[in-house]
Amino acid sequence: MEVRMRIFRFNPEKDRKPHYDVFTVEAQPTDRVLDVLEWIRGDVDGTLAFRRSCAHGVCGSDAMRINGRNYLACKVLLRDLGTTEITVEPLLGLPVIKDLIVDMGPFFEHYKTVMPYLVNDELPADGKERLQSPEQRERFDDTTKCILCAACTTSCPSFWSNGQYVGPAAIVNAHRFIFDSRDQAAVERLEILNDQFGVWRCRTAFNCTEACPREIKITQAIAEVKRAIQTGRVE
């Protein structure tokens, strides 16, 4: 099949304003959007810039807007898009550096603010593992899956309008520890999120959950954090 790729272009060394380039490509319906981008960069226009690494949806490099919606380019097959007119644009709400590459700095800064690490210095006397029941482990399983791709945060209307909002990804990563029975810093994290730029900025727009390539129930996780803050129960 033939697809028309309309790709957002911006080269800070040359362009004052972004524009779109159109490439017409012969491809298979089972090709990934990433395959097409790779082909364009390799064989047509080497200056096209985008990030990628694993090519199967586990590293989080290639989140971008495809036909107006956030995806990992390596996780969408052309046939899934239902059209041969494909528009590819960088994530919204982070500064564009070049073409499809955005500055991930602000995103990781937010991530770092929520203490995304286990806090517990007590070790079992025998030096072995801390115990945790399968139920306790299951409680936070969903939010351990995050690959920090930023598809969620950059689909969030609250984040678009105010980049100070920590964003769904940071909350997901806080949730992962708040609900881990081994962790001892739930209160600190909840206090961080109980800020004017914390969980209360979430207007349940749900774009995050729809965008998450790891199918994390993000809005639910955020709601659970909101509840924990109010009720004082981490359950």
Binding site: N67, G68, G93, P157, W160, E210
Partner: protein, 141 residues
Amino acid sequence: MSTLKTTLTGYAGYRGREGHWAFLLHRITGLGVVLFLTIHIVDIAFVYFQPALFLDALALYQTTLFGIGEIALIFCVFFHGVNGLRIAYFDMFKPGLWSIEMQRKTTRTTLIIAIILWLPAAVWMVRNILLHNYGIVLFGG
């Protein structure tokens, strides 16, 4: 990069699903209602402060243009109400309902309920406008 332009591009251009539209609609309807409510409190207050003005305001409300606005307002009140109830219930009592399937289903249901509530009201209000402003009797003369 969180500029007004980014926000508006996102609001209008992001191909979000039900949740995105529900969020926008909730926001627009909420703002619409506050705008109206503010005016409404002031004009009602005229009955105490400036009764003459109250009658002027009333005359304005009775025009067709305002009549149409009022029909929209009623939609806003219904949609915003049903959707707000949905959000509040999920958030406070059942976070587990924030799943993709439930979100899609309940948002659609919300819209349908809002429309079902709104339609008869709208019909009745259209009838009133036609009757009082144009002397056309639709029904129930």
